[in-house]
Each structure stands twice: as C-alpha cells, then as structure tokens.
Amino acid sequence: MELILVVIIGLLYASGIYMMLRRSMVKLIIGLILLGNGANMLIFLLGRIVKGKPPIIDSTAKMLTEIYADPVPQALILTAIVISFGLQSFAIILVKRAYKITQTDDLDELNTTDEIYE
C-alpha cells in the first residue's frame, strides 16, 4: 500500500510540475491541481497508514493502548482540499477572464506588465 502511494505521489508531483512548465494557461491550472493533490496524498502517507484500526476508545478502557489510525492527517487533508477547491475555482475563472481579455492561451504573451515602457 505504502509503495503504491509513494509512486502515485511521485507521479502527481512530477506531472504537476511538468504541466506547470508548459506555456498553456489551462495546463498551468491542471499542473497546480495535480500538485495540490500530490501534497494532500503526502500528508495522508506521512501520517502513517494503519488499516482497520479506527481511533475509538473502548468503553471499558481509558485510553488507546494499541496502534491506531491517526485522525489528524485526515482532518488536515479535508481542510486542504476545501481550501484548494476554492482557490482552484478562482484560478479557473481568472484564466477564463485572462483568455477573454488577452485573446491568447500562451503564457509567454502575458509579459506587458514586465516591460519597462508599458
């Protein structure tokens, strides 16, 4: 299980960065989404994966003595997913606006703000 996750995370990061390095604005957004998902998976993996051991204390016991699945990473991922959902939907609308205004999908064309004499 860990090995599969490791490979998937690696692929997500690599493909995310690859897509971000392309010139198209749409690919840029896809790259950011993939990168964000990779980060979420990484939190999940590094929170130690434990199968079938929910962190529920038995009614007879006072604390958990056995190994249990850590709930914190899942809470973190949930937060991160919600945040990235909001940011990504904003980014998609922004790209659409940018396409409408500049009539191009090429990031290299968006350099008027960098020129000294605008």
């Binding site: 995310g16 971000m20 604005m25 840029l28 950011l32 990168l35 964000g36 990779g38 980060a39 979420n40 990484l42 939190i43 993996l45 590094l46 929170g47 130690r48 914190v72 990473p73 973190l76 937060t79 991160a80 945040i83 909001g86 940011l87 904003f90 980014a91 922004l94 790209v95 606006r97 940018a98 205004i101 500049t102 990031l107 968006l110 008027t112 703000t113 960098d114 000294i116 004499y117 605008e118």
Partner: protein, 507 residues
C-alpha cells in the same frame, strides 16, 4: 498566561467584514463603517500590545484543548507588534481607499475583502500552530487574489495570473513541508515542534524540510531568486491595494521566516550561509532592478525586494543584535512602504501618470505635498535621523561583530542603490521642470475631487509620515522594543513555557 481575548483583533476584523457585506451597494455607509472600525481595530491592537508588554506572553487554547493537542494562539511581543503595525497600516489604507477607490470597485465588495485580508494577517501573526498558519496564509492569498483582480483591467489580470500562480505554488510547497514535518515530529504546535525537532536524529531530512519552508515563505516574501512575480504584479491594482500588498503581504513571509527559523529550525552552518548569500543576492537584484525602472510603483516594488534582503540578512547573521536590526527594519519598512505606495496614488491623482520621465515640477506646484512625501522617501533611503538609518546601523553592527564582511558590503551597497534611486526619483518627479501632460479623460484629478475625498487621501499619508518620524526620532523606544523581541526570539524558553506550561496548570 491564558487570555481568550487575544483573538479579539481577528474576531473584530471578521465582524467588520460581515457588517460591511450588509451594505453591499451603499458605498457611503461602507466608507463610514470602514473608517470607524479601522480606528477601533487600532485601539484593540494598542490594548493587546499594552497587555502583552506588561504581562508577558499571553496564550489562547481553542476549545480548551491543551497544547499541543488543540490549536493555540500566542500573543508574544513580536506577534502583537506586527498586529499593531498591521492595524495602523490597515487603518491608513482603509481611510485612503474611501477617497481613492472608485464606486464601481466598491460595489464589488472591496471593503469587506480588504477587512478579510487584514483578518488573515492578524490571524497569521497570532497563531501558534503551523497548520493554522497555512490556513491563515490561504485566507490572505484568496483575499489578495480578489483585491488584485477587482476592476478587471488588462494589466491587472495579467499581473494576477503571475501572482496567483506563484502563490498557489508556494502554498503547495508549504503544505508539502508541513506534511513531512508532521511525519517526522508528529505535532503541529510550533512550541511543541521546537522541542520535538531538536530531538530528531535524521538531520538531513530536517534540513530538507527547513529548505522547503524557506522556499515556500521565500516565494511569499519575494527573496532571490523567487521574486519575479512581485514587480510584475504589484503595480497593476489601484494604489491603495498596492499599499497594503507592499506594506504587509511580503512582510508576513518575513515574519514566518523569522518565527520558523528561530523557533523550530535553528540554522546550522549550511543554512546560515545560504541565508546570507540569498540576502546578498536579494539586495543586489532588487537594487539594480529599481535603477532601471521608470514607473514609480515598479521602482517601489523593486525596492521592496531590495529591503526584504536587509531583513533576511539579519536572520542570516543570526545574532541577537542582527535579529534586532532585522526587526527594527521590519517595523520601519511596513510603515514606510505602505506610505510610499499611498503617496504614489496621490501623485497619480495630481498628474495622471506615474512615469517618472513624464512627471515633474511637483515641488514648485505642491510644496506641502512634496515635503510630506519627502519624509517616507528619505526614511526609506535611511538618511539620519529618519527611521531607516537606525535599523541599518544595527544590521551593520551585527554583521561587524559576527565577521560577515561580505554581507556588510552588500548592505552598504543596497543602501547606496536605494539612495541613488530615491535621489533620482526626487530630482525627476519633484525638482525637474514640469512637462505639459495631455489630460486623461478616465482619470479623476485631485482638484476635481470633493474635499472629503481629498482629505481622505492626504490624512493617512500624514498619519504614516508622523509614525515613521516617531520611529526615527524616538528611536530609543523602538530599539528597546526590538531588543526585547530579539531576546524573546533567540531564547524561546519563555514562549515554550507560555504555550506548553499551561498543561501543568490545569488538571
């Protein structure tokens, strides 16, 4: 000490934003509420500062979950100073916006979003939990995304693409760093992490995490070589928005760097040298970039980059004296940079352009404004006895005592470049003979504005100029304050006791 009221600045900003939303199309009501609420929020910040200055570090455990299990809010001297500065800058920008921002933008929710941004800033300064810091950062960036695009001009959208991309990338890197840190230390509370990280044997991995944090915060605070998005985007939105960005947003990154690298990751030799080299390159690239530009706001944008280098230099030297210099610089820089961007907005309203080659004759026509704007300009260049001078003195002294000769050279070079740029700016914009400029139809000139709006644009500049004069002329107070902050940062035991000691007090 436990004090649930330390989140009041955050709550109050949230309250203001929600209140403003009820007056979505009634812009005059929004203006009034913004002015009143921003003054109240400065009051709250002063109260919090006084409380912390007298009683030491205050903490708040969310939901009574004791640290390190719950989310902790910590108000130490550094946090509260930053909250106070944020409130002052926020008030200045809020008042300035009532005069300078067009009604069309105000009807798209400019004021509520501005207050959300300030809420995020207050939260980021007060939190003691690293994941919570991430969440505050996200609140800051989503609010800043809206502010930078509000109005939807072509340059704004183009700048926003770069700004949004780099900030989202920085967030992804920050999140990655948090993931690895949680895997390593199993905690998210910064005070707890400070203890846990010191005990980890795998130092290589700890350094990797430290570098990831450095890159993540480095993008946000625009250090070399991660600063290119800043000069490409900061001059595109209206001046009031540039002011809050230039004054505060990059400084959150610096705050986070100072916090993380004094509390959690104590720089080893490699990291220290890296910080020093990065500081040198940041100073150099920002300074050289500023010389080349002709748009006044772009010049200021490059100077932001240049002066981030000074603060980074203090962290790189890593002695109490140098950190103190960096904090003094931070205090001075927030006020002065906000003021300069506001001043550029005023000049735009006077002349209708910000191209320094076309501007001119402002001193002859508006001598009072010129003297007013001279205060932040020459504070920035660090001409004694104005505020920038003292900070640089301590940075250079810190470098001298730590034998960082290269860094001292770059700090002096950076100061010289700043002075050159400011002198050029002064000569071109204020002293040169006025050139006849074509009247722009879509610009509402200063003399066409109503008296209320004129005062709303001038008062915040006066206010911030007086503040920076205070920092410069009553430097002793600020020196004492930054000395205390530096001592707290370098010996985090008081911080740790305040956060974790609460565990033993209550059963």
């Amino acid at each position: 000490m436990n004090n649930p009221y330390i989140v009041l600045p955050v709550i109050f900003q949230l309250f203001t934003s929600v209140l403003l939303m009820f007056f979505w199309y009634r812009v005059n009501a929004q203006r009034l509420i913004t002015i009143i609420c921003s003054i109240i929020s400065v009051g709250i910040a002063i109260w919090l500062f006084k409380e912390v200055y007298q009683n030491g570090i205050l903490t708040m455990q969310a939901g009574e979950w004791q640290a390190p299990f719950g989310i902790t809010f910590v108000a130490d001297l550094f946090s509260t100073t930053m909250v106070l500065l944020t409130a002052i800058s926020g008030m200045a920008v809020g008042i300035f916006s009532t005069g300078s921002i067009r009604n069309a933008r105000l009807k798209f929710g400019y004021f509520p979003i501005l207050n959300f941004l300030l809420m995020g800033l207050h939260g980021a300064f007060l939190t003691g939990d690293i994941f919570n810091l991430y969440v505050w950062f996200e609140i800051i960036i989503i609010a800043s995304f809206v502010l930078i695009t509000i109005g939807g001009e072509k340059a704004q959208i183009e700048g926003a693409i770069k700004y949004v991309t780099m900030n989202l990338l920085a967030s992804a890197i920050f999140l990655t760093a948090i993931a690895i840190l949680y895997g390593l230390a199993g905690s998210l509370n910064m005070a707890d992490l400070s203890i846990q990280v010191a005990e980890i044997e795998n130092r290589g991995l700890v350094n990797v995490v430290a570098i990831l944090f450095l890159v993540g915060f480095g993008i946000k605070s625009a250090i070399f070589p991660l600063y290119f998005w800043l000069p490409a985007s900061y001059h595109t939105p209206p001046p009031a928005i540039s002011a809050v960005f230039g004054g505060l947003l990059t400084k959150v990154g610096v705050y986070a760097l100072l916090r993380i690298f004094t509390l959690i990751f104590i720089p080893d030799e490699f990291l220290g040298n890296l910080l020093v080299v990065l500081a040198c390159m940041t100073i150099l690239s920002g300074g050289l970039g500023a010389i080349l530009q002709v748009n006044m706001r772009k010049i200021f944008s490059y100077l932001i980059v240049c002066h981030i280098g000074f603060m980074l230099a203090g962290l790189g030297i890593y002695t109490e004296l140098a950190i103190m210099g960096a904090i003094f610089y931070l205090i001075h820089d927030i006020i002065v940079k906000t003021n300069l961007f506001l001043a550029s907005g005023l000049i735009f309203k006077l002349k209708g352009t910000l191209n320094i080659e076309k501007l001119g004759g402002i001193y002859k026509k508006y001598p009072k404004f010129s003297l007013l704007i001279a205060i932040p300009l020459f504070s920035l260049a660090g001409i004694p006895p104005l505020s920038g001078f003292w900070a640089k003195v301590f940075l250079i002294e810190g470098g001298y005592k730590a034998n960082e000769w290269m860094l001292i050279g770059f700090i002096i070079l950076g100061s010289f470049l700043t002075l050159w740029v400011i002198a050029k700016l002064w000569a071109e914009v204020f002293w040169k003979d006025a050139v006849a400029l074509p009247k722009k139809i879509n610009v509402k000139y200063f003399h066409e504005l109503k008296p209320f709006k004129r005062w709303a644009m001038v008062i915040p500049i006066i206010l911030l100029a007086v503040t920076s004069l205070y920092i410069g002329l009553a430097a002793e107070h600020i020196i004492l304050l930054s000395k205390q902050i530096a001592a707290e940062l370098m010996n985090p035991s008081a911080y740790l006791d305040a956060v974790l000691g609460a565990k033993t007090e209550t059963p």
